[in-house]
Amino acid sequence: MITLESHVPDGPIQEKWTKHRFDIKLVNPANKRKFKIIVVGTGLAGASAAATFGELGYNVEVFTFHDSPRRAHSIAAQGGINAAKNYPNDGDSIFRLFYDTVKGGDYRSREANVYRLAEVSNEIIDQCVAQGVPFAREYGGLLANRSFGGALVSRTFYARGQTGQQLLLGAYQALLRQVHEGKVKLHTRKDVLDLVTHEGRAVGIVVRDLLTGELTSHSAHAVVLATGGYANVYYLSTNAMNSNATAIWRAHRRGAAFANPCFVQIHPTCIPQSEEFQSKLTLMSESLRNDGRIWVPKDPNDTRPPQQIPEEDRDYYLERRYPAFGNLVPRDVASRAAKQMIDEGRGVGPLKNGVYLDFSDAIARLGKQAIEERYGNLFEMYERITDENPYEVPMRIYPAPHYTMGGLWVDYDLQSTVPGLFVLGEANFSDHGANRLGASALMQGLADGYFVIPYTIGNYLAPMLGTQPLPTDHEAFVRTEADVMARIRHVLEVDGSRSAAWFHKELGKIMIQHVGMARSEEGLTEAISQIRALRDEFHRDMKVLGTNESFNQALANALRVWDFFELAELMAIDALHRRESCGGHFRLESQTEDGEALRDDEHFSYVAAWEFKDVGDWELHKEPLEFEYVALSQRSYK
């Protein structure tokens, strides 16, 4: 039986973190090396945590399925990272960043966690600059900032279109410094396939060597998961091909509650799918909306090329519906509006699955050169993929699954409902509520890894001084390894007629149709039965060739698809139970007269944390959310 104790410290919100840091039990420096910590994942969250643990003197082992820590999906982030530095002197503050994040998340996050995030945001920038992250600079040598994702202040730091890569390189280099000093042991191309628990605590993991298939067990005093998000449940998303939910899903099955699984961000500016074979969707940075105007033809049957459609026959629907924010409305609002246009048959492009993002006004106003300076690399990327020149023809964009706000439930210390299991970064549910603001995921990953977990883990470890990690020949490990082996054998023995990738693609279609941008009781009920039927077929009819004892990518993938199938059902169940619209979760039954999302604070102002009983059988626990500092209001961008 799970109990949800958020462990938020008492006191005014501005003082909670300072007070808590003082109250946390410290581990004597000489004793730190007696504690072993396993970190899974080397993205921003995992690499920063592992490096910092190493510096502090803990005995750290870090695992990634990639061939190098530098390849984690964090590398792909383009736009930037937020911090409340207020360098531009435009009225930003920790409180404003906190306020914007709670409001942007549509009041479904925990105030105390968000405040702490805003509080440590400034230290992140200091840390990264000292590490040599080459952020953009002004001519005088100061750091440059820009406004991002509709924020009214310029608080975003960036490094060309490669902010994620540069931040990750900083954390990766810090990590490898610790590897060099022998403080951290690095395990690459290792797939973590299960969490080992004993007497209700996390005691280790079971790992498959992707090169040889060998299964090994690893034990530690604490396990930290920083394994990223699960948007690939939709098959087509902006995430890297190998991003998956296995580590958190298996931990969930071992007792970690899964919070708000249905909260998914569908990003408005991606290149629309062009054909069936497509393997992923490419994000075009949101910054494009600063200068591009979004429109569709008024007449669904208008077949003229966009340049020949005169102004009076165009519908700049965001500017029309949201005169105050126009093209800069938050992501969820922009995505939903695009979907409505396409559902009305007014989509553009060969598959009628996009809307135009038009730069011709901006080019006329600022000149082609200015646009090239701002967006040159994005325009080039677009042309490379679509073979169309966006300086001449408007871009076509469409929303795509991008980020998962849901994840494993954690308390203020980032500990899950399994003692000894901590969860960081996109893998946890903590800070973004029902919608994440641009440039705040990188901030959260690094906040968790550099500045939160290195302190909070002390509370769990300190009382364990003198204990040894469980030996890996203990029954708890032997049993878990056998479970994993049974899964592997099953996958290899089915010998059906279709690849796991094929099933994944079909699952994605169900998910995007029914658990995507517009959800309804009818659709979700239908989705649940379709997911179950397809899952049964997957287990009867998948075809995975080769052996376990080799480099077998199809086998690794099939195990991941297996877990996506179970997670997919929980997402639909969660979406069905939440009969309100909030952030990225839009229930057709809960909208205002003019079609905007309508929250129901009376009934749904809580975190939905699901306890696993069996596949198809989950128990709901609720963590009530109270808002003391940010008054609840219905978001309006008109």
């Binding site: 990766y172 490898l176 410094r177 490379r384 990738a501 075809k543």
Partner: protein, 254 residues
Amino acid sequence: MDVTLKVWRQDGPDAPGRFETIQVPDVSEHMSLLEMLDVVNDRLTVAGEEPIAFDSDCREGICGMCGMMVNGHAHGPQQGTATCQLHMRKFKDGDTITIEPWRAEAFPVVRDLVVDRSPFDRIIEAGGYISVRTGAPRDANIQLVPKPAADWSMDAAACIGCGACVAACPNGAAQLFTAAKIAHLNLLPQGQPERWQRVEAMVDEMEKYFGSCTNHGECEEACPKSISLDFIALMNRDYIKAKFKNRRLAAQRG
């Protein structure tokens, strides 16, 4: 369009390799090369043959995971492009496309098109960082960084660690990668305190694994991020200075 694929198959690091010819009908010109391989793999699986192993992840040219020799060119014939960004429209109906793994002594084949690039991590471990502890730094704007320095450093930092430079080099040298990594840090004020140790340690580590540079310049051609050869010159200059300075420092400590 229809194409013929000549693809390298090798079951494991020690197994002998061979070219396999696969006919691929019905390829759309909008596919990327890797999506074409996805389709081939699906067809192979259904036909009961093991799919072709290849690495990729982001599929947008940033993670550095993909990489193969396409018709003899690292990452294919298109300049400034990673394999995952190469589209079938760059080929013609009826073409034969030859695909091989990176060929370099330091990058042994794992399987088919997958290689082991871990020596790159060893080079970073040797000194590719600035030694600051979490939480120690002061305000980020206290130290001004001239924009040209930041920009130049950023040009070097754009390296995605894919290894194409090594694969393209007749000697299997890793000068371009190592130089980019060193320049990223050595061009910044923050990188100065460790500048000389860094360059010496990283170059020495590089030489344990990779061949030596004889200035062919194939690396720059192959690099998907167009990293400039100038960084190699910078590295060489710093390395010679470092040998001298580090010895002098050691003597002083002596």
